[in-house]
C-alpha cells in the first residue's frame, strides 16, 4: 500500500454513478440496492465470494442485464442500457470473464469487431486493421501474438490478452475488467498493470475484479466488498486491509460458536470407495489427488471456476479425452470416457442443471425415477407397472418427494423436489460413490435441509459422497473433509472442526490464510 500519492488525485465528480441497483432472478435476489461510484483516474475493485453479486453488478454496467430497480448516471445524465451495444456506445467497455471472442475470426478481426477501419466509409481495410490491432497488442506487451491467427487457435492466456485489447480498442471512458488475469502469467499481469496505470493517468475509470488479493492491493484505489448481493463495505483509497476485507465478505456467519453442529460419524475403516491420483486435464485442473472413504462426505470447495466442478465432470466421464491420472472406484481402476462407463463403475451423479443433465422434465416422476433401474422393474422383456409403482412409492416416501402423484411430469414439481427425484433415480440402484454437483442451486431452504438429510443418510449407509457447492456456507454444515481448489489445484485440505467458512474462504483467496487467522 505504498506511494498512493504518486497517482493524480481523483476528482470529486464520479464518471458513472449507480444507485440502488436491484436485480432478481425468479425469487432469488442477486443484487440488493447496490451503490457504486466510479471516479475518473481511479481503479475500483469489487471483492466478494461466490454469489456475492459481482457478476450481476458488472453485467448491469455492461448492459447485459437490466436492473429491476435503481438508476445509472453518467455524469449528471441518467442512462439505461438495454443492450451491451448501448453500454459500449456510452463509453463502457468490458473484458468479460467468459471472453466475448469469435474463434473463427482472426486476432485483428476480433480486436476491432464493431470498429473495423474502412476506406470510403464502406470497404473494409484489413491492412489498417492489422496495424491498429498490432499496436494495441504491443501496448499490452503481447506483440508476439500472431495477428492473423484465428482466435480459436490461441492458448487461453493469449485469448485473454486479445479480449483486453478488444476492450481497449473501444477507447472507453469506463473499463470493466472481470477477472482479466485468471490465465495470465506474472509478466503479462505486470504489463496489464502498466496499461491500467496509463488509463488512470488519462482520467479513465476502471472496475477491476480479481480473486487475487495481492493484485487488488497493487492495482485498486477503492475497494467495494459484496456479500449475498449487498454491498457491505467500501475501502477508500489507502485504507484497504485484507483481514477486514475477509471479515466483511464473511459477515456474521464468521462469529465463533455459530458453526453448525456436525455429528462425528464413525467411519468404516474399509478401503477407499474412490481413489483419485494425479488427475489432470489441461486448462481445467492439475494433479488432483484424494481418496474417499465409505461413509464420508468430502467437499470440493473454492471460488467458482477453479477446476473443482470439472474434476467431478471428469469423474463422470464428461471429458472424452485429455484426462491424465488414475481413478479407482471400489478398488477397480476406470477410465471413464462417457457417463455410461462411470455409471457402470458405480458412480451416481446429481448435477446442478436438472434440465439438461439430470432429469426429463416432460416425463412423469415415476418414469424419471426408474429410468436408470429398468432391470429392477422388469418381468421378462416387459416392464411391470406393479413393480415400478412399488419401487417408486418406496423412494417417494423415503425422500419425502412432494408431488400430487408419481404420474405428474417432473417439470411441474418445485426445484427442490425435482432435485430429490434425480437423487431417487440413483437410489433405486445403490452406488458406492455419490457425486453431488451444486445440488442446492435454485432450491429453497426447506428443500435444502431435506437434501442434506438424504446426503447424510447415504453416507451413513456406507456410500462415499463427493459434494460440490457454490455456496461455501454449506460445506461446514455437511462435510467431514473439504478440499479447497484454487486455479485448478488443491490449495489446501480441511478436516473435522477445521472445516469453517473463514478457513475455506481464506484458502480460496491467495495466501490470505495468515491474515484471516
Amino acid at each position: 500500500m505504498e506511494d498512493r500519492e504518486t497517482y493524480p488525485a481523483a476528482s470529486e465528480r464520479p464518471l458513472l454513478t449507480a444507485t440502488g441497483l436491484t436485480k432478481r432472478f425468479g425469487g432469488v435476489v442477486a443484487l440488493k440496492s447496490a451503490d457504486l461510484s466510479l471516479f475518473p483516474g481511479e481503479v475500483h475493485a469489487l471483492l466478494g465470494a461466490n454469489g456475492a453479486g459481482k457478476s450481476t453488478l458488472v453485467k448491469i454496467l455492461a448492459g447485459v442485464e437490466q436492473p429491476d430497480e435503481g438508476e445509472l448516471r453518467i455524469g449528471d445524465r441518467p442512462v439505461t442500457f438495454a443492450t451491451p451495444r448501448a453500454a459500449l456506445a456510452a463509453g463502457i467497455a468490458t473484458v468479460h470473464q467468459e471472453l466475448s471472442l469469435f474463434p473463427n475470426l482472426d486476432v485483428a478481426e476480433n480486436i476491432l469487431i464493431g470498429r473495423e477501419p474502412r476506406r470510403g466509409g464502406l470497404w473494409l481495410d484489413p491492412r489498417a486493421a492489422r496495424r491498429e490491432a498490432a499496436s494495441l497488442l504491443e501496448n499490452l506487451g503481447a506483440a508476439d501474438i500472431d495477428i492473423e491467427a484465428p482466435v480459436g487457435e490461441l492458448p487461453l492466456a493469449q485469448a485473454q490478452l486479445v479480449e483486453i485489447a478488444k476492450a481497449l480498442s473501444a477507447e472507453p471512458n469506463v473499463l470493466i475488467l472481470d477477472e482479466p488475469t485468471s490465465a495470465l502469467s506474472i509478466a503479462e499481469v505486470e504489463r496489464l498493470v502498466a496499461v491500467v496505470e496509463r488509463l488512470k493517468a488519462q482520467g479513465k475509470a476502471i472496475v477491476f475484479i480479481s480473486h487475487r488479493l495481492g493484485e487488488i492491493e497493487r492495482i485498486a484505489d477503492r475497494v467495494s466488498i459484496l456479500r449475498s448481493g449487498e454491498k457491505v463495505g467500501e475501502f477508500t483509497p489507502g485504507s484497504f486491509s485484507r483481514a477486514r476485507a475477509l471479515a466483511l465478505m464473511l459477515g456474521e456467519s464468521w462469529q465463533e460458536g455459530k458453526q453448525p453442529e456436525r455429528a462425528t460419524r464413525v467411519r468404516d475403516a474399509g478401503p477407499a470407495v474412490l481413489d483419485v491420483q494425479g488427475l489432470s486435464l489441461a486448462r481445467h485442473f492439475d494433479s488432483v489427488s484424494f481418496t474417499l472413504q465409505p461413509g464420508e462426505v468430502l467437499g470440493l470447495a473454492g471460488l467458482e471456476g477453479q477446476g473443482q466442478k470439472d474434476v467431478l465432470f471428469a469423474l463422470f466421464g464428461l471429458f472424452r479425452r485429455g484426462l491424465e491420472g488414475r481413478i479407482a472406484v471400489a478398488g477397480k481402476t476406470i477410465r471413464p470416457r462417457r457417463p455410461r462407463q462411470a455409471i457402470a463403475a458405480g458412480l451416481a451423479f446429481i448435477p446442478d442443471d436438472r434440465k439438461s443433465l439430470g432429469g426429463f422434465l416432460g416425463l412423469s416422476v415415476s418414469a424419471n425415477i426408474v429410468i436408470g433401474a429398468l432391470d429392477l422393474v422388469r418381468r421378462g422383456p416387459l416392464l411391470s407397472p406393479a413393480a415400478e409403482s412399488a419401487l417408486v412409492d418406496t423412494l417417494v416416501r423415503r425422500l419425502d418427494i412432494r408431488c400430487a402423484s408419481p404420474t405428474v411430469p417432473l417439470g411441474s414439481l418445485s426445484g427442490g423436489n425435482q432435485q430429490k427425484v434425480v437423487v431417487a433415480k440413483w437410489l433405486a440402484q445403490r452406488a458406492p460413490v455419490y457425486v453431488f454437483c451444486d445440488p442446492t442451486r435454485g432450491v429453497d431452504a426447506g428443500a435444502r435441509a431435506g437434501l442434506f438429510a438424504v446426503i447424510r443418510e447415504l453416507a451413513a449407509s456406507g456410500s462415499g459422497v463427493l459434494f460440490y457447492s457454490t455456496d461455501i456456507s454449506e460445506f461446514p454444515a455437511l462435510c467431514d473433509r473439504v478440499l479447497v481448489f484454487r486455479e485448478g489445484r488443491v490449495a489446501g485440505e480441511l478436516a473435522g472442526t477445521a472445516v469453517t467458512e473463514p478457513a475455506i474462504l481464506a484458502l480460496s483467496f491467495h495466501e490470505a490464510a495468515r491474515e484471516a487467522a
Partner: protein, 331 residues
C-alpha cells in the same frame, strides 16, 4: 466464447478453411473427366455451356443459402422463393407490357421482400429458422400456385438467349453467376455487414456482447438469400422460357448440400463463396449425368437422397472432435 482448444490445431484451421473448395475442385475435374469418357462431346464449348446452364441456378441458390448458413441460420424457403419469382416473371414479362427491366427489378425486390419476411420471423419473432422458413416456404409456393396454377407463361426470346447463350467462348450463365457474386457478395463481404454475418454465426453471444446489432444482421442474411434466389429464378425462367409452380422444389435441399459440400459449416461462422459454387457444379453435374445416362427416374431420386445424406452427414462428423460431452449437449 467456448474455451479454445490448444494451439496444436493450427494446421487444422488452415486445412479446414480450404478443404471444401479444394476437394470440390478436384471432384469437379474427376466428374467432368468421367463424364467425358462416356460422352466426349461434353468437352466442346456447347457441352460445357450446357453443364454450366444446368449448374448455375443451383450455384446461385447455394450462394444465397450460404449467406444464411454463415449466421448459423437455415433457409428452407429458398426453393419456394425461386418458384414464386419464376412464376411471377413468366406471367408478367411478356404479357403485362411492363417491360423486361421492370419485371427484373420487381423480381429482385420480391426476393428481398420474401427474405425480409423470413428474417423478421426468425430474428424478431424468435422462431427457429427450421420451422420459420419451412412455414414461409408453404406461403411462397402457395402464392406461386395462385399466380400460375400449372406450367405456362412465357418469356421473351431476347431475355432467354441473353442469359442462356454465349458471349464469345463464355456461357452467359457463368457471367450471370460471376456478376451476381461480384456485384453483391464481394461488396457485402468486404464491408462490415459481411464481417458481422460471419461473427454472428461464429458466436452469437460474443456478437451481442461486442455490441453488434445481431437481429439486423440475421435479417440481412435472409434478404441476401432472397436476392440470390431471385437471380436464380430469373435464370430458370430464361432457361425454360416459361414458368413452373414446381420448379424450385429441388433447390432447397440441394442448395444446402452444395453449401456443405463446399465446406460451409452448418454451425455457422465458417465458409467461403467459391466452395458452394464448386459444390453446386459437382452436385448438378452428377444429377445431370444420371439423366443423360438413362438412370431411371426412381433411381435418380434414390441416388440424390443418398448423396445428400452423405454430404450433410459430413457436417456432423466434426462433432466427434469435441472433447467434452457437455459442449455437444449445449451446442
Amino acid at each position: 466464447m467456448k474455451l479454445p482448444e490448444p494451439a496444436r490445431h493450427s494446421r487444422r484451421f488452415a486445412f479446414e478453411k480450404h478443404a471444401g473448395p479444394i476437394s470440390c475442385a478436384i471432384g469437379l475435374i474427376v466428374i467432368i473427366g468421367l463424364y467425358a469418357v462416356r460422352q466426349p462431346m461434353i468437352l466442346s464449348p456447347f457441352g460445357l455451356a450446357s453443364l454450366a446452364n444446368a449448374s448455375v441456378a443451383l450455384a446461385l441458390a447455394a450462394v444465397g443459402q450460404t449467406a444464411v448458413l454463415l449466421t448459423a441460420g437455415l433457409d428452407l424457403s429458398i426453393g419456394a422463393e425461386i418458384t414464386l419469382i419464376n412464376c411471377f416473371a413468366a406471367t408478367t414479362m411478356s404479357a403485362s407490357g411492363l417491360g423486361i427491366a421492370w419485371v427484373v427489378a420487381a423480381s429482385l425486390l420480391l426476393g428481398l421482400a420474401m427474405g425480409f419476411l423470413n428474417g423478421v420471423v426468425v430474428a424478431y419473432g424468435r422462431v427457429e429458422p427450421l420451422i420459420a422458413t419451412f412455414c414461409t416456404a408453404f406461403i411462397f409456393s402457395g402464392a406461386a400456385l395462385i399466380v400460375l396454377p400449372r406450367p405456362g407463361g412465357s418469356i421473351p426470346d431476347g431475355f432467354a438467349t441473353a442469359l442462356t447463350g454465349s458471349w464469345g467462348p463464355l456461357p452467359c450463365s457463368i457471367l450471370l453467376l460471376a456478376g451476381a457474386v461480384i456485384l453483391v457478395w464481394v461488396p457485402v463481404f468486404n464491408s462490415r455487414l459481411g464481417r458481422y454475418i460471419v461473427a454472428v454465426g461464429d458466436d452469437a453471444a460474443s456478437a451481442r456482447l461486442s455490441g453488434l446489432p445481431v437481429r439486423r444482421i440475421e435479417l440481412a442474411s435472409y434478404m441476401l438469400a432472397g436476392l440470390f434466389a431471385a437471380v436464380a429464378a430469373l435464370f430458370l425462367a430464361a432457361e425454360t422460357t416459361s414458368g413452373d409452380p414446381g420448379i424450385g422444389n429441388i433447390y432447397t435441399l440441394n442448395s444446402l448440400a452444395a453449401a456443405v459440400l463446399g465446406g460451409v459449416a452448418l454451425s455457422g461462422g465458417r465458409g467461403t463463396v467459391i466452395g458452394p459454387i464448386l459444390g453446386s457444379f459437382v452436385l448438378a453435374i452428377i444429377l445431370n449425368a444420371l439423366g443423360v445416362f438413362n438412370v431411371s427416374a426412381f433411381w435418380q431420386d434414390f441416388i440424390e437422397g443418398l448423396i445428400l445424406m452423405v454430404v450433410l452427414g459430413i457436417g456432423g462428423l466434426r462433432v466427434l472432435r469435441a472433447g467434452n460431452w457437455l459442449a455437444l449437449l449445449r451446442s
